[in-house]
């Protein structure tokens, strides 16, 4: 079994806000991220798939197909968007890096021909990232 990782990038706006809390609670827990005017990041997505290299092609997965799936399922939906306001899964879920990694997993799971999703790693910035491996 071999793990193969492909990166993709997108830029998006978001803010952190829990409707069940007062403005003071939101500010205390989320700090600068609770500013309702939003702010943005350049995200780097790393998607790792696992599989056995095909004896004929030597590929775990066709990289072009993987690139197309990432573009179709994630980048075209998130890139240059306001996540809270324009992406369905974040209408009621806070778009933290953790929740975004889980949402991206759900968007990709089962859609990559011939390979199994192993890990979704999402960098919000070079020094901060979240990993999700699905549920055991």
């Amino acid at each position: 079994m071999v793990l193969l990782t492909r990166k993709a990038e997108f830029s998006a706006a978001h803010y952190y806000w829990n409707d069940n809390w007062t403005a003071e609670e939101n500010a205390r827990v989320f700090g600068k991220c609770s500013n309702r005017n939003g702010h943005g990041h350049n995200y780097t997505l790393e998607v790792t798939v696992e599989g056995v290299p095909d004896p004929v092609t030597g590929f775990v997965v066709d990289l072009k197909e993987l690139k197309d799936v990432l573009e179709r399922e994630v980048v075209s939906v998130y890139d240059h968007r306001h996540l809270n306001k324009e992406v369905a899964e974040f209408a009621s879920t806070i778009p933290t890096t953790e929740n975004m990694a889980i949402a991206i997993w759900r968007r990709l799971d089962g859609k990559i021909p011939g390979a199994k999703l192993h890990r979704v790693r999402l960098y919000e910035m070079p020094d901060l990232f979240a990993d999700y491996y699905g549920e055991a």
Partner: protein, 136 residues
């Protein structure tokens, strides 16, 4: 849903690799340039990974402000701009990056309550890094 949150920190420190259990010649043979009696230094990168359920209210594994505070107080303030050989921990232990990684993991595992510290990775140079996840 269990996810993993990682954050990178920087610290600069000097060290000298030298074991009292070895002769001077053996030390030179084992540690090479790192045995230079005057020591040398690195810009270390410490990557800390916390794992846990994503909190339904906050969307977070843990609040990065809490993790930053803990790492700064217990790791950065202790080791940054110091000579590692003079740290109490390294009076009997050679300050290899392996030992530094284990020490940082144990400090954080013990002290950080909001989520489980599951891995510490320390990059000594861009080509050398060490990881510790505790004993199985």
């Amino acid at each position: 849903m269990r996810a993993y949150f990682s954050r990178r920190y920087r610290l600069s420190a000097s060290h000298r690799l030298h074991s009292d259990a070895l002769t001077d010649e053996q030390n030179r043979a084992t540690y090479g340039k790192c045995n230079n009696p005057f020591g040398h230094g690195h810009n270390y990168i410490v990557e800390v990974t916390a794992g846990g359920q994503v909190d339904a209210e906050t969307g977070m594994v843990c609040n990065l402000v809490d993790l930053d505070g803990c790492v700064h107080k217990l790791v950065i303030e202790r080791f940054d701009h110091t000579n590692l050989n003079l740290d109490p921990m390294f009076q009997k232990l050679v300050p290899t990056t392996e030992n530094l990684t284990i020490e940082i993991f144990q400090i954080l595992k013990e002290a950080f309550r909001p989520a489980e510290i599951v891995r510490v990775r320390v990059e000594e140079t861009s080509n050398n890094f060490f990881e510790y996840s505790g004993e199985a």
